[in-house]
Symmetry: C2
């Protein structure tokens, strides 16, 4: 009985960039890419943590040119293909053209879950360049199922072949995933993906829920290396899906080897659920708020957790950092 119906896309070399302070070396990328390819992973992503062009004072400077890293990774691929992340506004079209020259075969164009419309040109360019082209809806927990369906239809109309539900804050629980993926399966013709974070210790269960609801792309990272509490752990996902009777097409021992003999050796610290990552997952706000919140908490003498929970309640989004101080001031008055 063949139950394989999805691809595992590994994001160690992109989401892991956050945990590595954007300092992946050519040697680390080469060994990780080789291991992923040999284990049978079909797609893996290489970019700055915030996507192509993310190397900047604002998002963190990369130690090594990401185009060079993409090239090194692509050179290691016997069967795998390299994906890149592109957040319009951080990366520009020229970045994508350069990435293709370096060997990228897939692009994931990422926007906030309510802002798919900023991605029309980038999706079109991805198709023009012959890439597997994906629309990536970040912070998907912040939108209703209806809104997500509407945004996915936009992505589809621009030419996206896969649409991702992305739990950027690690906020979702399995029922949230099931509701979103099921609705998308019924409403759009393209493939559906899921990208999870582990802030509430639910990344694996959410990923299983996504597969059961019909997702055909699921993301993971080796040793969970990624932003916040990290991602669904790729080598563990292979074990769990095997136990559930799915064919992942990935060699379990080989994927363990690259996780433990390569990635574990260079990651600066294990991924775990700390106080900060837990409160981000609980409140559903994005990690970029954390630093400002700590400053505001001190200035106004309030608990930073109260600020984050309130920001989650009022659905503050990236770019609204000034709201953090308004909320802190308001909470300080209430004390």
């Amino acid at each position: 009985m063949e139950k394989k119906s999805f691809e595992i896309l590994d994001v160690t070399l992109r989401d892991g960039s956050h945990s590595m302070s954007h300092a992946f070396t050519p040697q680390q990328v080469r060994e990780t890419a080789r291991g992923l390819d040999e284990a049978g992973v079909r797609y893996f992503e290489v970019s700055h943590g915030d996507g192509l062009g993310g190397s900047s004072l604002q998002y963190g400077l990369s130690t090594h040119d990401e185009l060079k890293l993409i090239e090194i990774a692509a050179d290691e691929c016997k069967q795998a293909e390299v994906s890149v992340l592109l957040i319009p506004g951080i990366g520009v079209k020229g970045d994508l053209q350069d990435a293709v020259k370096a060997g990228a075969k897939m692009v994931r164009v990422a926007t906030h879950v309510t802002e798919a419309d900023v991605a029309a040109q980038h999706i079109a360019l991805g198709r023009e360049l012959g890439l597997k082209t994906v629309g990536f809806l970040m912070m998907s927990h912040m939108a209703s199922v209806e809104k997500i369906v509407e945004q996915a239809k936009l992505f589809e109309s621009y030419g996206a072949e896969v649409i991702y539900v992305t739990d950027s804050a690690g906020y979702m629980l399995p029922q949230d995933v099931t509701n979103r993926i099921s609705a998308l399966k019924q409403s759009v013709g393209c493939e559906i993906g899921f990208h999870g974070h582990n802030n509430l210790s639910m990344a694996m269960a959410n990923t299983v829920a996504a597969v059961e609801a019909g997702a055909t792309f699921i993301d993971g990272s080796l040793r969970a290396l990624g932003a916040g509490s990290g991602n669904t752990q790729t080598e563990v996902m292979v074990a769990v899906l095997d136990r559930l009777g799915y064919q992942t097409g990935i060699d379990f021992y080989k994927i363990m080897d690259v996780a433990n003999d390569v990635v574990a050796k260079y990651m600066p610290r294990p991924q775990e659920i700390t106080g900060s990552s837990l409160i981000m997952g609980y409140s559903g706000v994005y990690s970029s708020f954390l630093l400002h919140t700590q400053v505001a908490a001190k200035r106004f003498g309030v608990d930073e957790r109260d600020i984050l929970v309130e920001l989650g309640r009022i659905k503050a989004i990236g770019g609204q950092e000034d709201l953090i101080y308004d909320v802190a001031q308001r909470l300080a008055v209430q004390i």
Copy 2:
């Protein structure tokens, strides 16, 4: 709507003993106990990782007398009660009597899932001493649902008030938990508990499944401190159950504080899913096999993972360590 229907039992100061190499200090126990009590946790466990009397060359010598640590913990309790673990054969009845003098109010008598009958006298003693008395079925994934029901009925006949399904190897998936807890709810009159490990990144999802199936006791540990990949993470569980609409009776910020300001400061390393813990969870064998397996793998020139997977397949249990060498030899011949 009052949805509270369970107690969270924290095992940081018992299962965490494994990760601490049985070296908890009086100060660590005092601060952790105080934090748990202040956060509103009703029960928490203090013992050597392998239960009362576990301090030995075989199971690891404790740095500090566990009776002294139990006494310190009990002294900190304004509303909480201290539980102790007792594995018949490792601990003896005198150990339990001493623990009660030190302030213990609950005992969990633990046996392999098919060996509840060795616990009859210890359960009876627990009741005699006026303790909340629990039967704890270790390695519950190794027995069929029917067998677990049979063993639970034995525990109940001896006087156990709560019976635990214990996923010692972190092998179970949510459906495994649901099947076992549901069957017990239908078959025995006493309360049902669940104790999970995170080897397959499913401890939290399994715990939610247990609550949904009617478990009224669920275990966790702060920062997941415990054997293998650690336990269901207590402070995260409080967040997840709150999000699901349950009243845990535990103060979220206070439980975060003891996790992050106390436990995180003394734990020797973060709990994570390493290669060893993953293969234990995947194969379903107990962590005590690991060392012998590594020796046998070297001696016979086979992959230790193949040995563990085969041991899981033939359902080897603790005490059958000689089987490890038989399996390694057999696999070596097949190569």
